[in-house]
C-alpha cells in the first residue's frame, strides 16, 4: 500500500509530506511511558485522546493519518476532520514520546493542517473565528480594545519606567487583559530586584494564538511589529511572564523550522528572550536576591506546555520554588516532560470552553492528590484555566503564579 502525494494544492501540508510519511503508525505517541530503574512511568498524556478516545484524536499518529489521507486523496475535508484538528491543545506530549523522524515536525504538522483547514469549507470553532475576526484591529484575542492594553499598569509605575532599557517586559495579552495581577506582580518584582526594564507602549499580541491555530497570514504583521520593539526601546531582550509568549518570541521569532517560523517571517536577530523565572533563577544563583519573608505552604508546580515541553525549561521554576523559605515543593505524578496540559492551549479554551475546563479539572484533581494547598505555575493562561477549574470543582487549592509568591518577600541584595 502506497501513500503517494496526490494533493499538492495543500501547500503548507505538502511541504511536510516527506516528514509526515516518516510516521510509522507505531503508536508510541498515544501514551506516556519511560523505563525507570526502580519504577516505570506510565500515564495518559494526550489531553485530546483522553477526552475523545478515537485513534484520530489520540497522539500524533491519528493526525498524521489524517494528513496522509488528505495528501493522498484518501480522505476529504469535513467538519469531523476540523474537529480533530482544532481539539488538540498542541501540548507536545505526543512529540515527547515519538522516536521516529517525524518527531521534530509534529507540532508544525498540526499547525499546517489547521492552516489548510481555514482554506476549506469546514467548520472552524466559532470561538476561534470570533477573536480571529477582530485581532487585526484589537491586537489581542480577547476582543478588548488595543488602547486599553496598559490599563493593568498603575500610572505611578508607568511614569517611573525609563524610555530606554536593557529589557522590555512583554506582558502578553492574557496578563494585560485578564490576569492583571500577574503582570502587576511582575513589574513590582522586577523593580524590587532593580532589573533595567521598561514596558512597551505599543505591544501587540505575540501571535501565539494565530500561529497555534494556523493563521499564518494574520500572524505576519504581529511578528513584524513586535520584532521592531527592542530597537525602539534600545533593548537587548524581552522578559515574559507568559509561557506562550516565551515560546513564540524565543522560538517562532528566532528559530529555523520546524521549531520556529523564520522561514515565513524572517529572524529576530540579536534579541535575548528570557522568562521571568529564568531571570530570577540566574539572580538567585548569583546571590543577588535576599528573602525578606517566607511562604509557608506545600506547593505543587504545573509545567506549562509552552515553557516545558516546547522550550525544555523544567528546572528553573523548581529551583526558584525550592529557594523560597517555607515552601515545601511536592510533585504531581505527571511532571516535567511528562506533564499533563491544563487544556487551554492551541485555541482550545476559546474554541471548546467546556472541554478545556474539563481538562483543567483533571489537572486540578491531580494537584490535589499531592496534598498541596497551593498550585503554582509560570503562565497566566494556565493560571486562568486552572483557576476556573478550582472554582468549578470547589477545590481547596489556591492558584498563584510564582511571581506572585516572590514579589512580597524579596529584595535586591
Amino acid at each position: 500500500m502506497a501513500l503517494e502525494l496526490k494533493n499538492t494544492s495543500l501547500k503548507e501540508l505538502a511541504k511536510l509530506y516527506d516528514y509526515i510519511s516518516m510516521c510509522t503508525h507505531c503508536g508510541n505517541c498515544k501514551y506516556g511511558y519511560e523505563w525507570g530503574k526502580t519504577g516505570n512511568f506510565a500515564a495518559m498524556l494526550c489531553v485530546q485522546g483522553d477526552k475523545y478516545n478515537f485513534d484520530s484524536y489520540r497522539g500524533s499518529r491519528g493526525k498524521a493519518a489524517i494528513a496522509k489521507g488528505l495528501l493522498s486523496n484518501k480522505l476529504q475535508w469535513s467538519d469531523a476532520v476540523s474537529h480533530v484538528l482544532f481539539t488538540c491543545t498542541g501540548c507536545g506530549a505526543c512529540q515527547q514520546m515519538c522516536e521516529t523522524d517525524i518527531k521534530p515536525y509534529i507540532l508544525r504538522m498540526f499547525e499546517a493542517l489547521r492552516s489548510e483547514a481555514w482554506k476549506q469549507n469546514v467548520a472552524i470553532p466559532e470561538g476561534i473565528k470570533k477573536w480571529s475576526s477582530t485581532i487585526g484591529v484589537n491586537r489581542n484575542p480577547y476582543l478588548e480594545k488595543h488602547e486599553n492594553r496598559l490599563d493593568w499598569l498603575p500610572s505611578s509605575i508607568r511614569s517611573s519606567l525609563p524610555k530606554k532599557a536593557e529589557y522590555i517586559y512583554f506582558a502578553g495579552c492574557t496578563a494585560s487583559y485578564r490576569q492583571k495581577s500577574v503582570a502587576l506582580a511582575t513589574v513590582k518584582l522586577l523593580q524590587k530586584l532593580k532589573v533595567d526594564f521598561t514596558v512597551s507602549e505599543d505591544e501587540w499580541c505575540c501571535a501565539s494564538p494565530l500561529l497555534r491555530t494556523g493563521q499564518y497570514d494574520l500572524a505576519k504583521e504581529f511578528v513584524e511589529h513586535n520584532k521592531e520593539l527592542p530597537e525602539k526601546y534600545g533593548a537587548s531582550g524581552f522578559i515574559t511572564t507568559c509561557a506562550g509568549c516565551y515560546r513564540t518570541l524565543s522560538r517562532d521569532y528566532k528559530m529555523d523550522p520546524p521549531e520556529g517560523y523564520i522561514d515565513k517571517f524572517g529572524k529576530m536577530e540579536n534579541v535575548k528572550v528570557v522568562h521571568t523565572i529564568q531571570l530570577i533563577e540566574e539572580m538567585l544563583n548569583k546571590g543577588e536576591i535576599e528573602f525578606t519573608g517566607s511562604f509557608n505552604s506545600t506547593v505543587t508546580y504545573h509545567d506549562p506546555c509552552h515553557l516545558g515541553r516546547h522550550a525544555e525549561v523544567y528546572e528553573a521554576p523548581r529551583n526558584v520554588l525550592k529557594a523560597i523559605p517555607g515552601v515545601n515543593l511536592v510533585e504531581m505524578y505527571r511532571n516535567r516532560k511528562f506533564s499533563f496540559c491544563c487544556g487551554a492551549g492551541g485555541g482550545v479554551r476559546g474554541g471548546f470552553a467546556d472541554y478545556s475546563l474539563e481538562t483543567s479539572a483533571k489537572r486540578v484533581r491531580e494537584a490535589e492528590s499531592t496534598g498541596a494547598s497551593v498550585l503554582t505555575s509560570t503562565c497566566p493562561f494556565c493560571w486562568r484555566n486552572l483557576t476556573d477549574a478550582i472554582e468549578m470543582t470547589k477545590s481547596p487549592l489556591k492558584m498563584v503564579d510564582i511571581v506572585e509568591i516572590l514579589e512580597p518577600i524579596v529584595k535586591r541584595k
Binding site: M22, N28, K30, G32, Y33, A42, D55, L75, S78, H83
Partner: protein, 486 residues
Amino acid sequence: MARGNKEILAKLEQIVGPEYVSNEEANLIPYSWDLTWAEPRMPDYVVMPKTVTEIQRILRLANHQKIPVIPYVNATNIGGLCVPEEGGIIMDLKRMDQIIKIDPETCYAVIEPGVSHAQLSAALKATNPQWEGVEFSKGFEFGWGVHPASASVLAMAINHGIGHLNGRLGINSQLLSSMEVVLPTAEVVKIGSCAYSDSWHSFLPLPRMDGLFTGWMGTTGIVTKLGLWIFPIRPYRDVLTIAAASAKDITKYMVHWRHYSLCDEVTAVSWWLAQIPITFPYKDKPKDAPEFFSYTVISGWTEEELEYKRKMWKKVVQEEKARGTQLIDFEYPEEAKRGRTELPSRIVGSTKNYSKSCGGGLAWPGTFAPCKSWPILYEKWKEIYIRHGLSPATRFTDYQGAHYGMLRCMTPFDKRNPESVKAARDAMVECVRAGIPLGMLPYKPPVEYMNELNAAADAGYVYLMTKIKDMLDPNNIMNPGKLGVR
C-alpha cells in the same frame, strides 16, 4: 464524510453512547492501515465498548446484520491484522484498560485488552513477590517484547508475541493462565481455572480450549480478560555479546549456548539489522565486517550466580572457537545493551531503528522456524532481498531451548513509492514461500502469507480450522478474510 448506515449507527450509539461510536471518515482513516504494505480498507464504524455486556450487544447486532467485527487495540502487530478486509465495525478496546488483579503470592495478573505494556510494566514493577506479607524481592515482570509501550499486552500475548524472557520461559502465549472470551455469537465463556473459581492461575489440567483463541488473529472471539503468569525480577543482569563470520557460525554458537538453558534470551542479528537505521535501500556490507552479531541476556539472584553463567558462556565460546566456529569477540555499545534490559523500551519499541528516514513502512517475513533452517533460509532470503533492493536485516532468537525459534527479516520500505511497496511485498511473500517447506511458519500472518500457508497445509488441518471457525462464528463476522479460508 460519513460511511455505513444511520440505523446501524443509531443502534451502536444506543449500546455504547454516541461519544464512543463514529462513522466519520476522519475517525475511521487511522483504522484503515497499519505499518505494513496491507492495502488500506476503510471500516464503516468504529465503536469503543467499555464492558463485556456492551461487546455482547454489539456482536448480537453484527450477527443480525451480518457485519464484520474487527477487534482492535493499537494495531502494531506488523501483519495487517486489524485492517478490515471487508469493512465493518472496528471494535476499539482501548477503554477496557483495567488491571483487574495482580496476585503477588500465586504470581499471576488478570488484565483487560486495553492494558498497555507501559501500564502493566509499571504496575508489576511496583508489586513485590511475597507470601503472607513477607516480601522476597522487588518487582515482577512479564515478557516485554520489541514493541511500542502503548501496545496491548493481551493482543500481543494471544497472537503469540515474543518477549525478553523467551529463552528462559518460551513465548508469551505459553505464559497465559486463564481467559474470558466473548464468542462471536455473543456468549461469554471462561476458560481455565477461572471457570471454576476466582483463581486465574492455570489452564491445566483442563482441556486446552484457550487454543481456540490464541493465534487465531481475532477471528474466533474477543478475549475480554486474560490471566497471565508474572515473574519476579532478578536483580542481577548482564548482556554478553559476540559476532560471527556467517549465519552457520552464529547458529552453531547459539545452539550450543542455549543447550544449558542459562539465559533469558539469546538473539543474533545480521549486519544489516545491526545498523541504525537499517540500510535502505540495500547496500553492501563492508567486507571485513562480521555477518552476524549476537547478544545474550543472563540474569541471577546473586552476583555469584551471574558469574557462573558468564563462565559457562565463555566456556561455550572457547569450545566453539576451538572447533573452528568463526566467532569474533565483539562488545555491544552500552546503549545497545541497555536496550535489551531496560524493557519495555520506547527506543527499541518505536520502530526508530527499523524505519528511520525511509518512508514509514515496516513489515517482516517470519517468524517461527527450527534452528536447523536458520542458516539455510538466511542465505535464500538474502538472495531474495538483495534482488529486490532490500537489506537482509535478519534476526534469529531462541525460544526456550532446542525446540524452535525466531527467524525473521525486519524490512523497512518507502510508503511514498508504489514500486518500493511492491518490492517489499514481493520479496517477503517469496521468503515465506521458500520458508514453509523448511519448517518456517509465519506468525501474525498477513493475508498473502496465510494464502501461502493454506496452499502448503495438510488438508485435514485446513478442514479442522475451517470447521472450528464455522462452529464458533457461523456468520463469519469475526475479522473475515484473515484466515484465507473464509
